[in-house]
């Protein structure tokens, strides 16, 4: 029983990371029909931005040594700027392109960012210790819960609440929801398309920054592809939850976190290594049997 609860907490915090990543991907998909494969690389950049740019094997902290009150906005700003730059240079010229073309473009962006990191920071993974204190455990009865997991869950909830308040209570939030549902109609009503898209990219940047910091605190290492697996699972989450639906992205994120953790815990050992294969098989099954996902979006993604 304790074991199960322990797993559940693992699932919750892993699911939180997936949910935040999935929100970043889902937000852009909703508005732009862009499946942003480069989102994971924004996460990597958030982590790399902590250290002094150099190809040395040992990482020296740069922004990572700042007071947290400066650290958070600095990292967020860097990632936001990068996200906006990807929009400006790659996606904005492709506004009329089809989803697969956008997907290829985001693939190119991802490739560029990854190799950019490689050029600046070198190819070898680096050890990094951010907020080491967060890795201590809290004892609750028989349960030992890593503090970081609690922080992850709290941050996830806080960001989700913040995002949903933004979307429901602010003018830009309402415009963004309108644009996500019917981009052209929103433009006919004077909603500035590129501006709203810019906000969406900025929000996806903030989400990526949060995930990057939480993830690097937990993993303690940097590598130029560190964000990729997160983005891939988040992508699964987006499909499972319902493409274009933000509640779907959250539910999907937690569902994938749960499935992955439980497969890891309860699959027989010789099948455990195929965990990822099972997770991605779920994607194909969902597409085949419930293409609208767990929580369908309002708008029809694809006719025909």
């Amino acid at each position: 029983m304790i074991g199960f609860i322990q797993n559940l907490i693992d699932a919750l915090s892993l699911g939180g990371l997936y949910a935040l990543t999935a929100l970043g991907i889902g937000l852009l998909f909703g508005i732009l029909r862009l499946i942003n494969l480069a989102h994971g690389d924004l996460i990597s950049v958030a982590a790399y931005a902590l250290i002094v740019p150099s190809v040395d094997v040992t990482a020296r902290m740069f922004i990572g040594d700042f007071n947290i009150l400066f650290l958070l906005p600095s990292i967020a700003l860097i990632v936001i700027l990068l996200a906006l730059a990807t929009d400006l240079m790659a996606f904005r010229p492709l506004r009329k392109a089809t989803t697969p073309t956008l997907m290829i473009a985001s693939f190119a962006v991802s490739y560029i960012i990854q190799n950019g990191i490689l050029m600046i920071y070198g190819s070898r993974p680096k050890a990094i210790n951010l907020w080491g204190a967060a890795n201590q455990q809290i004892q609750v009865g028989d349960l030992r819960v890593p503090l970081l997991q609690v922080i992850t869950v709290v941050v996830t909830i806080a960001l989700m609440v913040g995002l949903s308040l933004f979307l429901s209570k602010t003018r830009y939030g309402v415009q963004m929801r309108a644009a996500a549902e019917d981009f052209r109609m929103a433009q006919y009503l004077g909603v500035k398309g590129n501006f709203v898209i810019g906000i969406a990219f900025a929000i996806s940047g903030i989400l990526a920054a949060a995930v990057g910091l939480l993830y690097v605190t937990q993993s303690g290492s940097l590598s130029h592809t560190m964000g990729v697996p997160l983005a891939l699972f988040a992508f699964v989450a987006v499909v499972v939850g319902g493409m274009g639906s933000l509640p779907g992205a959250v539910v999907g994120g937690f569902a994938i976190g749960f499935v992955v953790t439980m497969l890891q815990a309860y699959l027989p050992p010789d099948l455990r290594v195929f965990r990822d294969a099972f997770a991605f098989a779920i994607v194909i099954l969902v597409l085949l049997f419930r293409p609208q996902g767990l929580i369908p979006a309002r708008n029809v993604i694809e006719r025909v």
């Binding site: 990854q114 950019g116 991605f280 085949l288 293409p291 694809e302 025909v304």
Partner: protein, 353 residues
């Protein structure tokens, strides 16, 4: 006479492409360097893979992110057939006896490298080609992840994270060229067949094509299986070119490079597929030389090659979405007119772009 002319018209594009590859290969071999021979062999193998990719993507208009899986499956199929039995008995205990104890000839291995992916392609394609374009693309992406995870962890048949060694290296530039030619001809004959034309019709206007009685799923599935076979063949060649095999290369990086080649060349024509491979290979090689500092005063930092490729692809997508070929086929003469009754094949050969 008319008939001969029309045959020449029909076949000029694939023949020209094959000759073009021979010229590139011949020019490169003039340098006499081993490194160049390796580059050319690899380029020819990529022609097989990208042409295979083109058969599905170009004709159906659906982007697949999963075809490198077929390359992986084909490469391992070839390795299973040709690696030294002593190695297979020790390391690959999960293989059936007929694979474990025997070593098959090259051509048999290549056939297996095409057939096994085709079977997998038939099973997968049967399920996912009925999905809409985006969903189908996503499913192929998931398929890449699945194959990677399975092949990286199924120790008893793939040696897991360690590598399969002792595969005879029989593939050099000219052997690979022959297979590139085979792939180009296969793609061409598919493209001008009734089946290929129907699929291209569904690409250009799915609703109208279906309304005129074309079975969308069947048309897509045929292309999917053929393309899986060709890409698998490319994988088989790759295994017998390297002589040693791991799962690592068959993942996002190679998916990106092959897609980049197709995009740069132009994904809606066979000429685009071939030109894309040649063009990207040349650019990447140039950047690589700059990185090594063998191009005089300018030395680029490592990673420039990949960065350059990414930027090139983004630029092509934005500035010339139809790629270098502009969606047209390479032709010397005979702008074929659909109305010309004397040359029906030629008329079919020129898709309305």
């Amino acid at each position: 006479m008319d008939r001969i002319l029309s045959n020449i018209r029909t076949l000029q594009t694939p023949v020209l492409l094959i000759v073009l590859l021979a010229i590139v290969s011949g020019l490169a071999s003039l340098t006499g360097s081993d490194a160049m021979a390796t580059t050319i062999a690899e380029m020819m193998i990529r022609v097989v893979v990208v042409v295979g990719l083109y058969v599905f993507i170009g004709n159906s208009g659906i982007i697949s992110f999963g075809h490198i899986s077929f390359m992986c499956i084909g490469a391992y199929a070839a390795a299973w057939m040709t690696a030294a039995p002593t190695f297979k008995q020790i390391m690959l205990g999960g293989l059936p006896a007929w694979l474990q104890t025997e070593q098959y000839p090259f051509l048999v291995a290549m056939a297996f490298a095409a057939v096994l992916p085709a079977i997998v392609g038939l099973a997968l394609g049967g399920a996912i080609t009925r999905l809409g374009g985006i969903a189908c693309s996503i499913a192929t992406f998931a398929f890449l992840m699945i194959t990677n995870s399975v092949y990286a962890n199924w120790d008893s048949v793939t040696a897991g994270v360690s590598s399969i060694i002792g595969i005879p290296t029989l593939v050099g530039p000219w052997v690979a060229w022959v297979f590139a030619g085979v792939a180009i001809l296969a793609a061409w004959f598919y493209q001008i067949s009734r089946h290929g034309l129907m699929l291209r019709a569904t690409r250009d206007d799915p609703v109208a094509a279906q309304a005129s009685g074309i079975n969308l799923v069947k048309a897509r599935l045929g292309a999917f299986v053929l393309s899986a076979a060709l890409v698998g063949l490319g994988g088989g060649l790759y295994a017998q070119f390297l002589g040693i095999l791991t799962v690592d290369p068959f993942y996002l990086g190679l998916t990106f490079i092959t897609l980049a080649m197709l995009v740069v060349g132009g994904m809606s024509s066979l000429t685009g597929a071939v030109i894309g491979v040649i063009g990207v290979t040349i650019i990447v090689e140039l950047l690589r030389m700059f990185e090594r500092g063998s191009m005089g005063p300018i030395t680029l930092p490592p990673g420039s090659q990949e960065l350059g490729l990414g930027i090139l692809m983004a630029l092509i997508l934005v500035l010339r979405p139809t790629g270098l070929s502009g969606g047209r086929e390479l032709k010397l003469f005979g702008r074929s007119r659909p109305a010309a009754p004397a040359a029906p094949e030629a008329a079919q050969a020129a898709p309305a772009e």
